[in-house]
């Protein structure tokens, strides 16, 4: 009882991690009935090996076929899973059919009666095996691609498609083997009966024939190749055009419509025009950088927000760039506050924003030529200046200096010592 219990426990523990060790016919990855896949999973060998073994066994008086039929009849089918079962792909059976045909023919040629043996038989056998292997090895997605590109002549596309090195190598080796076998076959066939000169003549005529085929096919291949290239270029152009059209439609036309509707409100028109100008500029001249990652992008975004909110223009100049960290974010926030102050109190239409990233220091200058104010009279009441600019910079190890006089404009100067990472980033952009 105890021993049996222990044994049972032992079995369950070992069985638990590998529950699929039972022989059945799976529903997925099957070509005909799933026999080969089931066997492969049970034996732990690649399914391709099982399939080839079955196909080769066909040669032994159809043993492969018999085995397959027996397994099909005996093995239970896997219980239906939740996922929808992929459709059976009969095209996948083609390479194995070709290989099988080749094996049968080869067997007939090697072991069968000599009456059956003929050059045609050899050729068919070799080509069938080679083509089957190549077809199976080629990438199925690329096969779909061929069919898309040259729907009239998929076989041409298959040959001329620009392929990766591996498939080129494969084709090269496969083609080379076919040629070699063909030549050896011819020599072997005629050397026995005729003289060597007739063999040579045969070879020369074969070459002439090949050249003829080449002359006939080459322009066709060339044209197809060019068509494919032209189509691809056309697609890229079409894509670019669509992108421009979408941008103009989504933004420019929209803005123009809004401007027409608000034509009496000068401020609003200015704001719309400025916003559109900015987004077009960005689209035309700048690679997009994330404002959460880059200092320059963050500053530009802050300037854009102030422009949009207060209908003024901010002339932004940023020299150098660095990555955003907590301190840099604080610097940007203080700069934004300075911009907002200038926009609200200075009474001007243009604010200058200048930022420079140096190896040891980041600095930002916000300047307007507006009303200005007496820094001493502002006192504690103006939270924007004391808290959001000076206080914020101090808390993060930086410095803020405000120069202003009534009637003489205002300049806010912010400096932040560079952290080690941002100093590294400067070097990086310098390269």
């Amino acid at each position: 009882m105890t021993i049996g219990g222990a044994e049972e426990e032992h079995i369950t523990t070992t069985a638990a991690p590998t529950p699929t060790r039972r022989l059945y016919r799976p529903r997925d990855h099957r070509i005909i009935a799933g026999v080969a896949t089931g066997l492969a999973r049970h034996l732990g060998v690649p399914v391709i090996a099982v399939r080839i073994a079955l196909v080769v066994l066909l040669g032994l008086d159809g043993l492969g076929l018999m085995l397959y039929a027996v397994f099909w009849a005996v093995l239970p089918q896997e219980a239906a899973g939740e996922e929808p079962v992929e459709r059976r792909n009969l095209a996948a059976a083609l390479p194995f059919a070709a290989i099988g045909l080749g094996v049968v023919l080869l067997e007939g040629l090697v072991f069968g009666d000599n009456g059956v043996v003929s050059t045609a038989g050899w050729l068919v056998a070799v080509i069938a095996v080679g083509a089957g292997v190549i077809w199976h090895q080629s990438d199925p997605t690329r096969r779909g691609h061929w069919a898309d590109n040259a729907s009239q002549m998929p076989w041409v596309a298959a040959i001329v498609a620009e392929s990766d090195r591996r498939s080129f190598l494969f084709r090269f080796v496969g083609g080379g083997v076919l040629v070699a076998v063909g030549i050896i076959g011819i020599v072997a066939r005629y050397a026995r009966t005729g003289s060597l000169s007739s063999v040579l003549n045969g070879l020369i005529f074969a070459l002439v024939g090949l050249m003829g085929v080449g002359v006939v096919v080459a322009p066709l291949l060339w044209r197809t190749f060019n068509q494919l290239r032209a189509e691809r270029e056309g697609r890229i152009r079409e894509q670019e055009r669509a992108e421009v059209a979408a941008m103009i439609h989504d933004q420019v036309l929209h803005t123009l419509a809004l401007i027409q509707r608000n034509s009496t409100d000068i401020k609003e028109v200015q704001r719309l025009a400025r916003g559109q100008e900015r987004s077009l500029r960005n689209w035309l001249y700048k690679p997009t950088a994330s404002p959460t990652e880059r200092f320059a992008a963050a500053l530009e975004q802050a300037a854009a927000e102030v422009e949009d909110t207060y209908a003024i223009s901010v002339e932004t100049v940023v020299v150098g760039d660095t990555e955003c960290d907590e301190q840099v974010a604080a610097l940007v926030a203080a700069a934004r506050e300075a911009l907002v102050n200038a926009a609200r109190h200075a009474g001007v239409e243009t604010i200058s924003l200048y930022a420079e990233v140096e190896a040891d220091e980041l600095s930002v200058f916000v300047r307007d030529r507006g009303a200005g104010f007496d820094i001493d009279t502002v006192g504690e009441s103006r939270h924007g200046v004391r808290g959001s600019i000076i206080g914020r910079m101090k808390r993060h190890g930086g410095r803020a200096e405000i120069r202003s006089a009534p009637g003489d404009g205002t300049e806010v100067r912010l400096t932040m010592p560079a952290t080690r990472e941002s100093a590294g980033a400067v070097k990086e952009t310098a390269r």
Partner: protein, 221 residues
């Protein structure tokens, strides 16, 4: 105003080159009070023949035009009419667009959003043989001439900015006028103008890596 008077006491003659007739009309109206607009052209070939005929003091030159843009005008005029000064004017303040014109011989660059008074001041400055930098152009020059330990300097005279030039450019980029820069640095306006002109010369002549790389990227030399 401590601005120096122009060398001659007559009104300056200005020629407008821009393919947008509406913009030409606007500038003509704005500048009427300050200078004499002696002609305008809407295409490169028209500009070349009519500038040669009128020989203005300053040509306001649009960067983007069909058939080669402002560069084409500059290149064909520079040799035959070296006394004509060119001021580039563009909606795009992308430095990439501007450097080509500067290196082809333009004395300065301003954006089309500039106010009429500032534009008139810029025209006067260019006519006097000085240089005009927009803030963004100043920023670009600072970027291109940044002191970098890993970039070899072939000609220190042309490939590096002096500290003073750097300071002047920084203030320009911060939106300071020449007068304000002079006050800030305790130098005369004439000295500021000299610094900016020197920077312009370096920008035109230097073979710094950043500039040549930039030119190569756009097939400009």
């Amino acid at each position: 105003m401590t601005e120096p008077e122009p060398i001659e006491n007559r009104r300056l003659t200005v020629f407008l080159v821009d393919d947008h007739a509406m913009f030409r009309a606007g500038v003509r109206a704005e500048l009427g009070a300050h200078v004499d607009v002696v002609g305008e052209a809407g295409s490169v070939s028209e500009a070349i023949t009519r500038i040669a005929a009128t020989t203005p003091d300053v040509v306001l030159l649009d960067v983007h035009m069909p058939d080669g843009g402002g560069r084409a005008v500059l290149e064909s005029m520079r040799r035959t009419h070296p006394q004509v000064k060119f001021l580039a004017l563009s909606v795009s303040d992308a430095a990439e667009d501007v450097i080509g014109l500067i290196r082809a011989g333009a004395r300065g660059y301003v954006t089309k959003t500039i106010s009429p008074d500032e534009l008139a001041a810029a025209i006067k400055r260019v006519a006097d043989g000085d240089a005009v930098f927009s803030p963004r152009l100043a920023g670009f020059v600072l970027d291109a001439f940044a002191a970098r330990p890993d970039v070899p300097v072939a000609d220190p005279e042309l490939d590096q900015l002096t500290n003073r030039e750097r300071e002047v450019l920084r203030l320009l980029a911060r939106g300071y006028a020449y007068k304000e820069i002079a006050k800030e640095l305790y130098i005369s306006i004439k000295t500021v103008e000299t610094h900016v002109s020197n920077v312009l010369r370096k920008l035109q002549m230097s073979n710094r890596y950043e500039l040549s790389r930039w030119a190569a990227d756009r097939r400009l030399v």
